[in-house]
Amino acid sequence: MNKYLFYPGCSMEASAKAYMESIRAILESLDLQLEEIEDWNCCGATEYLGINLIPAYALIARNLALAMKQMNAANGTGGTHTIVTPCSACYLNLAKADYYMQERPVLGEKVNEALKAGGLHYKPGALDVRHLLDILVYDVGLETIRSKVVRPLKGLRVAPYMGCMLPRPDYKHRWSDHEHPTELNDLLRVLGADVVEYPLTTNCCGGHMTQIGPETAFELIHRLIVDADARGAHLMATVCPMCQLNIDAYQDEMNHYFGTDYHMPILFFTQLMGLAFGKEPDELGIGVELVSSRNALAKIGVEVPITQEPAGPRKKAEGLPMPRRLSRHEEGKEAMK
Amino acid sequence: MNSDPFEPTIIGFTCNWCSYRAADLAGTARMKYAPNVRLIRLMCSGRLDPTFVLRALSNGADGVMITGCHPGECHYIEQNYKALRRYLLLKRVLQGLGIEPARVKLVWASAAEGAKFVAEINAFVEEIRKLGPLSWGKDEGGKLKDEEGNERSSFTTYSSPFEEVPA
């Protein structure tokens, strides 16, 4: 039994609930045990580090300190020093805090001073921070995964989308490459899927730009979807709640902005693993995505239950109408005038 | 004497191929550094017998700086690694003898690193100044005493551990 400390991260309880459900569903078949860190808090996601370094690192390091405490308590009873997280942003933050606290002792001291207020302490380097994909590919192993496949995803063309936060900066040299890593491709191939060559696999999905500069985010989402579509993918597979959210929830707006009509579902890789392991869609949180994977999964004979009303035409807003955003198409026309 | 800042005496061991040349370079470039350091040229940091360090410390030096080629650049291929090993062991021995291990420092300096050599010397002099004099075996008058408490006039009473002990 492989046992790991587990840091789920906030998304797992909200927007990426489906991710968590699918992880739970596949754990047993893989003989994995994830021990959740007690009383964990938000990692600060992508922005906080840009605002105030010490509190941001302290926020992250609190989780590391809690994990270390848990590890020490369990020591002697098969304790592990590996902490696993399924979220790319959480993974990056935890790894970054661990790395810089070690690299810059002054920072480490200050962070620990802050942690002391809560009676905590983190010794940099004490934990091994890893992403769930890393664990599945390198610890569980592709052969073990292959042996659990009962429903190969044959005929399903998948674009493997790893996102930008997982492979870079790779503090501990965990990935095969930083621009074109192959881990996700390999894993999906083992599930029997037709993996399309997807060179944008480590491009950015726009992150929180959807909130502060939607046009930029739309451009980035557009690139990803256009290329996945051009390469004949039925759906995209991701390892990151942020990527999933952006491509899924903002696809409609992106289409609207560019005057296009793409329909590219995006699922978590664990959901696809679950399907391959013979689990049913409702056990894996499939069907709650906004861009439905119904048509895509029909290719492998999986029927996705309708859990919500199709989006349908946009409801008319109440109150006074807002001016419509200019699409790029129209912007060009404006300039011509 | 009491009002003056403590001026430590430091013995520096240099490698003929790198750090001694770095010292030459510092001179040629007229870089200035603290006058507390006195250098001894060895062919290689690997030649450094830990006895040399102990001898220097027991004979009046307050600190010893060992310098050699950067790892991988040893003139004799890999002997600086041996110096590193001895240095690490020596630090433990010093601790056992009640001497602050920080009184001995290993520094890598290539023949081109005159500036680094100077900076390292200056930093080390300050570190030793902070540690204060290594005044063992001396009474309040600063005179050297041997094990029986007899006054000793100079260094010549020490003999190399390898020399045969006169009957």
Partner: protein, 671 residues
């Protein structure tokens, strides 16, 4: 110590004009030395304006003769500058040169300190240290060993070829060892050479033929050095001559075997992976020697046990499937390593897409592509073998000047890229883009070539390419390779669609350079290139006497520099051969057999394998010719049985005491 030896020491303090006298009270220093160091044996102490002048030297010589000095200390500049001068002077006066010690009071005192009183104090300590030390010095004699006139050259590229011809033409024998089936090296693979655009084969092959037929050259191709022992003048080398499965006595090089061989494989070496060869092959038409090689890994006979087509058709019966590897022992006096370079593996820069996109080529692939004798007969086409590109992007510095890969500049890539730009332009009329970080064309007629390529209309974009992608963003990018780059001259991101991308990959040390270095007892720099004795003044010698380096094994360089180094190394070897014997510095370690307990702790410490264990006597022995004098074993010997001349325990301990004498003296005075 002093009392028992009764040495007569002379101390000479140099003013060096005002270089020393300006900061050190030289008169006081001399006076102090005479007074306070008298009990150590100092009988005379003088100061003089320029000790290194002939008058200064004569002063010392005269004192040696008249005062019967047995030791001399010169307080002046660094020993690296004038040690030799004063040793020679002492020798003239009949004193063993190794009884002279220099006290560096210029580089270590007057030039680096600012307080005259403190500087003078330190100078006193330095002189006291030198006096204490010189008393323990022992007279030494240089060690002379004879030089074997034969030379081994490893690597048959242009540097090795040049060196071999120089030495052979001077009338001495050369063994030239080459790992591949033919000599010629990388240069044989090139099409044109920059900046003159001479055809590489036209200028190289006559030299190769000369090497192949030279009576003074023994050519050993398809061979590798497996063992080296001995020392300068007397190396013993074992060479493994790999089985060719061809009887060289009988083979005429007609090439029928290659023609008839049914097995075709990709030629990863000479054709850089874009061409084919047979399982029995001569790497290229002008190969020297002209004997083919059977590639055991791919030969049908070796795999399946049947075929032997080559044997059937060979008109002279030269095919010999039973041939085995052969070990050859030779004795040589000097060795030149000209082992060349490897190319950076372009797949490591995954964002440039080499290996993912068919139309991304490496520079060596392009050389073969544009070579008239190459797989496309010199037609510059895409990987499909027929389409002529309409636009080509050439990316400089791939793997070089990059913190993720190699920090250094690979020297040749700028000029090589310019050459490619010219060739593409001339032969296809395509639009050519060069993506460069800095343009480095610093050599004779190089920049003129750059100007010429500029005038031909090649487009230059200054910036490091971010990625090569096939993800099109609009119509005109569709089906192309798009080069995404920040153009740093206009400060804009650009996307340039092209049909073909050429990666000007950097040069790297041979993958086995470290092992080869260990085999020959020389070291590699942090980047992995062989380390020269001095980067400026001794670029082809190494720290190991008798081993020289030339060409790219020492660092990236172009053909003219490689040739120059080959010739330079040859000149150094000839110099050694003509001297007939070599004097070795007498700084050596030796074992006192009486004290040695045979513990063998020292055995593993020597990187030069100078220490051997003599089981019969249960002692260790140090070969003085192999010993380089580092002294590591001296420091390690637990019984104090090993002593090192020039840097003995007694000398160093005395110097430590001497340096600290002044400290004690001052402390006692103020107490």
């Amino acid at each position: 110590m002093t009392e028992k030896k009764q040495e007569r020491v002379g101390v000479y303090v140099c003013h060096c004009g005002t270089n020393i006298a300006g900061m050190v009270d030289v008169e006081e220093l001399a006076k102090w030395s005479a007074e306070k160091l008298g009990h150590q044996g100092v009988v005379i102490a003088r100061d003089y304006k320029f000790m290194c002048s002939s008058l200064g030297q004569e002063l010392i010589e005269k004192d040696i003769r008249e005062l019967g000095l047995t030791r001399v200390v010169v307080a002046a500049c660094s020993p690296h500058l004038h040690e030799k001068t004063f040793r020679t002077a002492a020798q003239k006066a009949g004193l063993n040169p190794y009884l002279v010690e220099l006290a560096s009071i210029r580089e270590q005192v007057s030039w680096v300190h600012t307080d005259r009183v403190v500087a003078t104090e330190k100078a006193k300590a330095v002189v006291a240290g030198a006096v204490s030390r010189v008393i323990e010095n022992e007279p030494l004699e240089e060690i002379k060993v004879p030089i074997n006139p034969n030379t081994l050259i490893v690597g048959g590229g242009i540097a090795g070829i040049q060196a071999a011809l120089e030495i052979a033409n001077a009338g001495f024998h050369v063994y030239l060892v080459e790992r591949e089936p033919s000599i010629g090296g990388h240069m044989a693979q090139f099409d044109k050479t920059f900046p003159t655009l001479d055809c590489a084969a036209c200028i190289l092959t006559p030299r190769m033929v000369e090497v192949g037929t030279h009576p003074n050259i023994t050519l050993l191709t398809w061979s590798e050095v497996v063992n080296v022992s001995g020392y300068v003048g007397n190396f013993n080398v074992t060479i493994k001559k790999k089985a060719r499965f061809i009887n060289e006595e009988l083979c005429t090089g007609c090439g029928v075997c290659e023609e008839k061989c049914p097995k075709k494989v990709i030629d990863e070496v000479f054709e850089a992976g874009i061409g084919y060869r047979k399982a029995v092959y001569i790497p290229f038409a002008q190969a020297v020697p002209k004997f083919p090689v059977i590639d055991k890994e791919n030969c049908t006979y070796f795999i399946k046990g049947t075929c032997k087509a080559c044997e059937k058709f060979c008109p002279t019966g030269a095919i010999d499937f039973k041939q085995e590897d052969q070990l050859i022992n030779i004795e040589v006096g000097n060795i030149i390593l000209a082992t060349g370079y490897d190319l950076f593996d372009a797949r490591r820069v995954s964002n440039y897409g080499y290996g993912r996109f068919p139309n991304v080529f490496t520079s060596l692939e392009f050389e073969r592509l544009s070579n008239a004798a190459g797989p496309t007969n010199g037609n510059i086409v895409l990987r499909d073998g027929k389409t002529v590109p309409k636009s080509v992007g050439i990316i400089h510095c791939v793997g070089s000047r990059d913190r993720n890969f190699n920090n250094y500049c690979s020297v040749i890539c700028c000029m090589q890229s310019l050459k490619f730009a010219h060739l593409v332009h001339e032969r296809t009329g395509a639009t050519v883009y060069n993506f460069y970080i800095d343009m480095r064309t610093a050599s004779k007629a190089y920049d003129e070539f750059y100007q010429r390529v500029l005038e031909e209309g090649t487009l230059f974009v200054r910036g490091k390419v971010a990625e090569v992608t096939d993800v099109a963003r609009d119509e005109h990018e569709k089906g192309k390779l798009i080069i995404q780059v920040e153009d740093t001259l206009i400060g804009k991101q650009r996307r340039i669609p092209v049909d073909m991308v050429i990666l000007s990959v950097g040069l790297q040390p041979r993958h086995d350079a470290k092992e080869v270095g260990r085999l020959f007892g020389i070291s590699c720099s942090t980047d992995g290139w062989f380390t020269e004795k001095h980067p400026k003044l001794d670029p082809v010698a190494t720290m190991t006497e008798g081993i020289f380096i030339a060409g790219c094994a020492q660092g990236p360089k172009d053909i003219p520099s490689s040739v120059a180094q080959g010739a330079a190394a040859a000149a150094r070897v000839l110099d050694k051969i003509l001297q007939k014997e070599v004097a070795l510095e007498p700084i050596k370690a030796s074992v006192d057999q009486k004290k040695c307990s045979g513990c063998r702790i020292c055995n593993g410490l020597c990187p030069f394998n100078a220490i051997s264990y003599i089981a019969d006597d249960n002692i260790s022995y140090i070969n003085p010719a192999l010993c380089q004098g580092c002294g590591t074993c001296v420091a390690a010997c637990p019984s104090g049985a090993i002593s090192g001349t020039g840097f003995s325990d007694a000398q160093i301990l005395a110097q430590i005491d001497g340096l600290l004498l002044r400290t004690l003296e001052v402390e006692q005075a103020t107490a």
